[in-house]
C-alpha cells in the first residue's frame, strides 16, 4: 500500500461565518417542486435512527421511498440498544450550555479530528431533534413539574443529555419507526424487511440502485432509484466481540467502497469503558453498561497488584480510584477513550479483578448510601437488572465488574458537508459515515447525529442532488444492474461451493482476535504489520476452507454470515493499514509510539490534521490513501486535558 500524496478531497464546506454556514447553505440548495417530488425514487438502506428518520422525512416531502433492512422489522435496528441518552444544546438547566459549547465539547472530545462545520451544524440541529421526538410522543424522562429532565454524560461539564431511563435509543428509534410506519400507511414508503444489500449499482458515475438478497427466499433482487442513502451503521463487529448486534456488518458500506466510495478513518474505533467482561471462549457478544452509570458509580481497582480478596473485604484505604486520582476535574466522567485506556493500563499492570483479571470495579456503594437504593433503582434499574441477569451477581450489593469493549466506529464512508459520498447520488448517514465525531465520540452523541442527519440534513441535501444533476431514466434492465446481479450471484455460489472444513463463525472469531490484539485499545507499527499479514493469511484460508452449508434459494443464516465475514476480512486489512499509516495518537486511535508522559494521546497536527480516505484500486491493488485537510477556525487544537 502507498501513502503517496494524491489530490486532496473537498468537503464542500459552505463559505461564511461558522454560525451561519448551514443557513447560507440551505439558501443555496436547489429545491424540487412539490409536484415533481413524486417522480423521484429514493432508496434508504438501514432503518435505524438515521435510516428510519431519513426515510420518513423524505416520504413526508413527497418522494417515493423504498426502505430496506436485514432485520425482520424496521424496529429492530441496533440503534434500539443505545441506552444512556441524547445530547441537545437546550440549556434548560441554565448551567451555561449553548450551541457553541456543545460544538466545542464535541470537537475536543473528537480530539480535533472532525470537520468543524459539520459539528457546528450538528450542535445547531440538536435542539430541533428533541422537539421533534417529543412531538412524536417519545416519552422522555420528566421532572415533577412536567418539564424535560436532563443528566450528565462523559467528557462534559454541563447537564444536556435527554433520556428515557436506560432505553433512550429504543424510544427514539420507535419514534422514528412510527413516523416510518405512518408513511407506509400513506403509501409513500415501501418497506423491504429481511433484505440485505449486497451491491451498489453505479450508472454513468451516479449511484442509481442496489442489489439485495431476499433473506427469506434467497432471490437476488434489483432496485433502481434516483438516489441511494446508506444508513447501515458501523463496523464494530469486525472485532467479532463487540457491543453491536450480531447482525451488524460492514457489507453495504464495503460494497459501496468497492464501487468507488471512499472509506474514511477506519482506524477510529471506540472502545467503551463500561462493558460486562468476557467470561469464556463461547462468548458471542459483549453487553454495554451505559456510560450514565459513571454519574454515580466510582471506578476502582485494588491498590495492591494481584489482590484476590472480594471487593467488600478491601478497605477504602486500599482502593485506587484511579480515574478520580488522575483526572480530578472530570473524575469518573472522563471521555470514553481516556477511561478505557486507563482501565487497560491498570489491568495490564496487574491490578485487574475477577477471575480473568481483565476487569475493574464500578462501585455504587457511595451513591446508594447518599441517595438511597430506590433512587439508584429509579435511575438505573433496568441496567442493574441486565447486569444481574448476565452475571448472576447483585450490583446493589457488590460492585459491578466492567471492562472496555468495542462499541462504536467513528470511521465510515467519506461524505462531504452534504452527506454525499464521492460517488454522486450516494448519501451516507449516521454511524455509517465518518463525519462528526473525529477520533472519539462523546457519549449521547450518536443518537443526536443519526437523527440530525436523517430528519434535518439529508432531506435538504438530497433535493439539491435531484434538482441539479441530470438524471437519465434508469431501470433495473440496465446492463449495469444485470452485471452487478450476476456478480452477486456468483459470489454466493462460490461461498457455497468451497465446502471446506472451518465454520464461518471460527473465521470471524479468528479475525476478531487479530484485530483486538493488534488494532484494539493500543496499537503499534510492529503489531499492525503482523495483523495485516495475519488477516491476509486468514482471508486466503477463508476462500479455500470455509464450510457454508445449505442452499442459496432459501432462508440461510450461515450464508448471510459468510458474506459478511468475507467483507470483514477485506475491510480488516484496510482498518489496520489506516492505523499503521496514521503515525500519531488521537482519540480512540492510540499508537504506543506516540504518547505523552502521562500515557495520553500525542497528536501530530503538523502531519495528520487530516481525514484519511481510502479508495479502492482493484482486487489485487493496494487501496489508495487520500486526504482531506482539516481546518480549525473556531477552536484551536490543543492537547486535550480532562485533569
Amino acid at each position: 500500500m502507498t501513502t503517496e500524496a494524491k489530490p486532496v478531497l473537498d468537503g464542500r464546506i459552505p463559505a461564511g461565518p461558522m454560525a451561519d454556514k448551514w443557513e447560507l447553505c440551505q439558501r443555496e440548495l436547489k429545491l424540487v417542486a412539490p409536484t415533481n417530488k413524486r417522480k423521484y425514487d429514493i432508496i434508504v438502506v438501514g432503518t435505524g435512527l438515521a435510516g428510519g428518520s431519513a426515510a420518513a422525512s423524505l416520504a413526508e416531502l413527497g418522494y417515493n421511498v423504498k426502505a430496506f433492512c436485514f432485520q425482520d422489522s424496521a424496529r429492530r435496528a441496533h440503534s434500539i440498544a443505545a441506552q444512556g441518552g441524547i445530547n441537545a444544546a437546550k440549556n434548560y438547566q441554565n448551567d451555561g450550555d449553548s450551541v457553541w459549547r456543545l460544538f466545542y465539547d464535541t470537537i475536543k472530545g473528537g480530539d480535533f479530528r472532525s470537520r468543524e462545520a459539520n459539528v457546528y451544524r450538528l450542535a445547531q440541529l440538536s435542539a430541533n431533534i428533541i422537539d421533534q421526538c417529543v412531538a412524536q410522543g417519545v416519552p422522555f424522562a420528566r421532572e415533577y413539574g412536567g418539564v424535560l429532565a436532563n443528566r450528565t454524560f462523559g467528557g462534559v461539564q454541563v447537564s444536556r443529555t435527554f433520556y428515557a431511563r436506560g432505553q433512550t435509543g429504543q424510544q427514539l428509534l420507535l419514534g422514528a419507526y412510527s413516523a416510518l410506519m405512518r408513511q407506509v400507511n400513506l403509501g409513500k414508503v415501501k418497506m423491504f424487511p429481511r433484505r440485505e444489500m449486497l451491491d451498489l449499482v453505479v450508472v454513468d458515475g451516479v449511484a442509481r440502485g442496489i442489489i439485495c438478497r431476499n433473506l427469506v427466499n434467497g432471490q437476488i433482487e434489483t432496485y433502481a432509484a434516483h438516489a441511494v442513502l446508506l444508513c447501515t451503521g458501523g463496523y464494530g463487529n469486525a472485532y467479532y466481540l463487540s457491543t453491536n448486534a450480531k447482525g451488524c456488518n460492514v457489507t453495504a458500506a464495503w460494497r459501496a467502497y468497492k464501487r468507488g466510495a471512499m472509506f474514511a478513518n477506519p482506524c477510529y474505533t471506540q472502545i467503551h469503558p463500561t462493558c460486562i467482561p468476557v467470561t469464556g471462549e463461547y462468548q458471542s457478544k459483549l453487553t454495554l453498561m451505559s456510560e450514565s452509570l459513571r454519574n454515580d458509580g466510582r471506578v476502582w481497582v485494588p491498590l495492591k497488584a494481584d489482590d484476590t480478596r472480594s471487593p467488600e473485604q478491601i478497605p477504602e484505604a486500599e482502593r485506587d480510584y484511579y480515574l478520580e486520582r488522575r483526572y480530578p476535574s472530570y473524575g469518573n466522567m472522563a471521555p470514553r477513550d481516556v477511561a478505557s485506556r486507563a482501565a487497560k493500563e491498570r489491568c495490564d499492570a496487574g491490578f485487574g479483578v475477577g477471575s480473568s483479571k481483565q476487569a475493574v470495579y464500578l462501585d455504587f456503594t457511595a451513591a446508594i448510601q447518599r441517595d438511597g437504593e430506590s433512587t439508584v433503582r429509579a435511575k438505573y434499574g433496568n441496567l442493574f437488572d441486565m447486569y444481574q441477569k448476565i452475571t448472576a451477581e447483585d450490583p446493589y450489593k457488590s460492585p459491578m465488574r466492567i471492562y472496555p469493549a468495542i462499541h462504536y466506529t467513528m470511521g465510515g464512508l467519506w461524505v462531504d458537508y452534504y452527506l454525499q459520498s464521492n460517488v454522486p447520488g450516494l448519501f451516507v448517514l449516521g454511524e455509517a459515515n465518518f463525519s462528526d465525531h473525529g477520533a472519539n465520540r462523546l457519549g449521547a452523541s450518536a443518537l443526536m447525529q443519526g437523527l440530525a442527519d436523517g430528519y434535518f440534513v439529508v432531506p435538504n441535501t438530497v433535493a439539491d442532488h435531484l434538482a441539479t444533476r441530470k438524471l437519465t431514466p434508469v431501470s433495473t434492465d440496465h446492463p449495469e444492474f444485470r452485471r452487478c446481479q450476476e456478480e452477486t450471484t456468483n459470489r454466493i455460489k462460490k461461498l457455497l461451493s468451497i465446502s471446506g472444513k472451518r465454520t464461518v463463525e471460527s473465521f470471524h472469531r479468528a479475525l476478531g482476535k487479530i484485530l483486538w490484539e493488534y488494532c484494539g485499545m493500543s496499537r503499534s507499527a510492529k503489531g499492525l504489520e503482523v495483523a495485516i499479514q495475519k488477516i491476509r493469511g486468514l482471508r486466503t484460508e477463508f476462500w479455500q476452507d470455509v464450510r457454508v452449508l445449505g442452499a442459496s434459494n432459501n432462508f440461510n443464516q450461515d450464508l448471510e454470515h459468510a458474506g459478511r465475514v468475507a467483507d470483514f476480512l477485506e475491510f480488516g486489512e484496510v482498518l489496520a493499514q489506516d492505523a499503521l499509516t496514521r503515525n500519531e495518537s488521537c482519540g480512540g486511535h492510540f499508537r504506543e509510539e506516540y504518547q505523552t508522559k502521562d500515557n495520553d494521546t500525542l497528536r501530530d497536527d503538523q502531519n495528520f490534521q487530516h481525514v484519511a480516505a481510502w479508495e479502492y484500486a482493484g482486487e489485487n491493488a493496494p487501496a489508495v490513501r487520500r486526504t482531506e485537510p482539516l481546518e480549525f477556525t473556531e477552536v484551536k487544537p490543543t492537547q486535550r486535558s480532562y485533569k
Binding site: 440498544a81 417529543v134 458471542s284 471460527s506 432459501n554
Partner: protein, 252 residues
C-alpha cells in the same frame, strides 16, 4: 453445582414455510452455566455444521434483550422460565445437567413459520402501520417544554412504550391474541398529550387491523403479562378496552 451441563434438546425443524416440520433430538455436552441460551444453540450449530448438517435457524440480533428479535418456546414457556427475560438473556445456569429441553417456534396463525424456529412477525408491523404513530411531519414541532407532561403520565407512557415487539404475548396466549402488544402502543399515546388528536382513530384502526391479521381475542387469562420480557402489564389491556369503548361512544 457443576459448572458444565449435558443436555438433550428436542428442537422443531422445518425446512420451509410449506414443508412439514418435525422434532429432532440433539445432545449437547459441556455447556458452561455462564452461557446464554442462544450461545448454547451457537455451540450446537457449530457442531451440526461440522457434522455436515444444516444449522438450526433462529432469530436473534442484539443479544441484550432490547431488539425483540429472539423468540423461542422453551419447555412450553415463551422466552423460557425466567420472568421479564428474553431468550438471549436467559442463562444456562437456569438448567440442570441431564435436563431435556423442548424448543419450539412461536405458534400462531398470524406468525407463520419461515424456517425452523424463525417466524414471520410482520403482522405486528402492519398493526403499527394502521395507527401506531402520531401524525406529525418533521419540522412541525414546538419546543419540547412547550407542552408539560406530568411525570407520572410520562413514566406510565414510558412503561407502556418499552414493548420490544417480540411476540411473546401472542405466543403465550392460549388464543394467540395480540392484545398486549396493541394495548401497549395505544396506552403510550393515550397517556400523552401528543397522542390526543388521533386518540379515537388510532384505537379503532389498530384493533381492526389486529383482528384482520388473524390474532385471537383476549379472555383475560393474563398469561401474556407473565410472558412479557418487557414487563408490560394487563393494565394496558384494560386501558385499550376503555379507549375502544370511548372511541365507540364518542362522536368525531
Amino acid at each position: 453445582m457443576s459448572d458444565t451441563l449435558n443436555l438433550t434438546l428436542k428442537v422443531w425443524r422445518q425446512a420451509s414455510p410449506s414443508a412439514p416440520g418435525e422434532f429432532k433430538t440433539y445432545k449437547v455436552y459441556d455447556i458452561s452455566t455462564h452461557m446464554s441460551f442462544l450461545e448454547m444453540l451457537d455451540v450446537l450449530n457449530e457442531d451440526l455444521i461440522s457434522k455436515g448438517e444444516e444449522p438450526i435457524a433462529f432469530d436473534h440480533d442484539c443479544r441484550e434483550g432490547i431488539c425483540g428479535s429472539c423468540s423461542l418456546m422453551i419447555n412450553g414457556q415463551a422466552h423460557g422460565p425466567d420472568r421479564t427475560t428474553t431468550t438471549c438473556q436467559l442463562h444456562m445456569r437456569r438448567f440442570r445437567s441431564g435436563d431435556m429441553i423442548v424448543i419450539e417456534p412461536w405458534r400462531a396463525r398470524a406468525f407463520p413459520v419461515i424456517r425452523d424456529l424463525v417466524v414471520d412477525r410482520s403482522a405486528f408491523d402492519r398493526i403499527m402501520t394502521a395507527g401506531g404513530y402520531v401524525s406529525v411531519n418533521t419540522g412541525n414541532a414546538v419546543d419540547g417544554n412547550a407542552v408539560l407532561v406530568p411525570k407520572q403520565n410520562a413514566d406510565k407512557a414510558f412503561a407502556s412504550a418499552t414493548c420490544i415487539g417480540c411476540g411473546a404475548c401472542v405466543a403465550a396466549c392460549k388464543n394467540a391474541s395480540a392484545m398486549l402488544f396493541v394495548s401497549a402502543k395505544v396506552s403510550q399515546f393515550a397517556l400523552l398529550p401528543q397522542g390526543q388528536p388521533e386518540r379515537s382513530q388510532r384505537v379503532e384502526a389498530m384493533v381492526a387491523k389486529m383482528d384482520e391479521e388473524g390474532f385471537g381475542g383476549c379472555t383475560n387469562t393474563n398469561e401474556c403479562e407473565a410472558a412479557c420480557p418487557a414487563g408490560i402489564t394487563v393494565d394496558n389491556i384494560a386501558r385499550l378496552n376503555r379507549e375502544y369503548i370511548r372511541a365507540t361512544l364518542t362522536a368525531e
